[in-house]
Amino acid sequence: MNTELIIEKFKENFNSDILEITVKNYKRVTITIRPASIINVAGYLYKTTGFRFIIASALQTKKGFEIHYHFSKDTIGLVLNIHVFLDKDNPQIESLSNMFNASNWIEREIHELFGINFLNHPNQEKLISEGNWAEGFYPMRKEFK
């Protein structure tokens, strides 16, 4: 299965959920989707298409929060970024940890550092700063002027 075919299939399955597709080259593709469809998209990639979950990167911009979920198709060296925009005041998204354990730690870490809430996470405790940092204080958050 090559990158073009993967993108075609993805479009067929999630046409209404896709906001933008950026193809940098055949090994780096970013697809921006609606946050509500993350469970379906991750399930499709992990179970149907055989992608491996690498990690997720959260970041904050003036507009709000973003998460890049990085998936890898190792047979063709493709890294597929599933990109979501989250609400500025109440950032939350469905957890993927009930589907695969690989996202368990990183979701806890993002929750701890950015204050993004992962709904239905099996154990959303602090990962890094247990017992050390104040509640409700998120070290990686920025204040924009």
């Binding site: 979950f53 690498i54 990167s57 970041l59 690989a102 368990n104 730690w105």
Partner: protein, 401 residues
Amino acid sequence: MSKKTLIPIGPYHPLQEEPELFKLYCDGEIVKDIKWETGYNHRGIEKLSESKTYEQIFFLVERICGICSTSHPFAFANAVEEIAGIEVTDRTKYIRSIIGELERIHSHLLWVGLAGHFLGYNTVFMWAWKYREPVLDLFEMISGNRNSYAMFKVGGVRRDIEMAKIPVIQKVLDDLKKKADMLTGAVMDDPVIHARIRGVGILTKQDIIDYGAVGPTARASGVAIDVRKDDPYAAYPLVNWKVITAQAGDVFAKAEVRLLEIHESISIIEQCLDGLKKEKEGDIAVKVKEIPEGIGIGRAEAPRGEVFHFVKSDGSNSPVRHKIRAPSYVNIATFKKSCIGQTIADATISLAAVDPCYCCTERMAVAYDLNSGDKIMNANELINVSVRKTNEIRKEIKSQL
């Protein structure tokens, strides 16, 4: 409710890449549950990175891990060069791969030594670390440092490997080849080691996929993922080599994969040295003007598995977000599968099998009985449990012979 004993492993060693505390909850000798605490030495490198320039970040990420100190700069260089669309010279590619593979050799030898130590094979420990020494000397010759080599920069490397140095490297590799052969034979053919680590700490293919484990941990369970092959970078597509896999998923399979990878690495370096001879000396960097806006993903295969760097640039001289994932981050989580249900003696080597920079065990905290608060075990005693088991097996096998 049955009484459980808590055995903490860890947490703290300032030289260790991931200072962590593992809590083994044991019922008698059997490990019933495992929990961990991280963040004892959280250095905020991702945040720090946002305040450094691209040139400075190489020195910062090099300090994430002391043992595989070149894999992070490697992945970061890949990420930044992807943003800027930089194509490095062939000479740079060869030098980068040589450094990466020398590092793999010394890291795997270090692991073999430590694993031997935990099993009560101190001869293996002495051998492996002795053979590792000339590799570190090579690093000193090439870069000036035995560790944290500071070789990488955007668009190239900082130091060349001159013609005169090639025979010296070749000599060390020739010596190492014989020694690696001997070490591989000694470990793989030893009946006691077979009895001790075969069938211990098994991870199935499904466990690997579920936890997203990478590197030798994944390859020992038959999941043939290796960034050098899947998403080739540097000189890896220019040389012939194969991905080493094993099927069993136990500690023995992990040892087998690492030992055989040492041989592959030697072969890769030799081919890179041949490539180097054909390239013009001094052609080690390209001019970089500026890093444009965009996102870049850099991957590199560290000795422990895939290192992943995500860099978002806004066109200034430092990134706005730099996410780093080291391989142990996903590999350590597999302990939930590999350790539960085993004896404490086996847990020591199962934990070590993932190669989580295990120097922490040396400084293990004292354990307390959960109910009485009595002191139970310290670091050496835990290793002794493992050594005792090996000795018992040794006796058993001798009596059978």
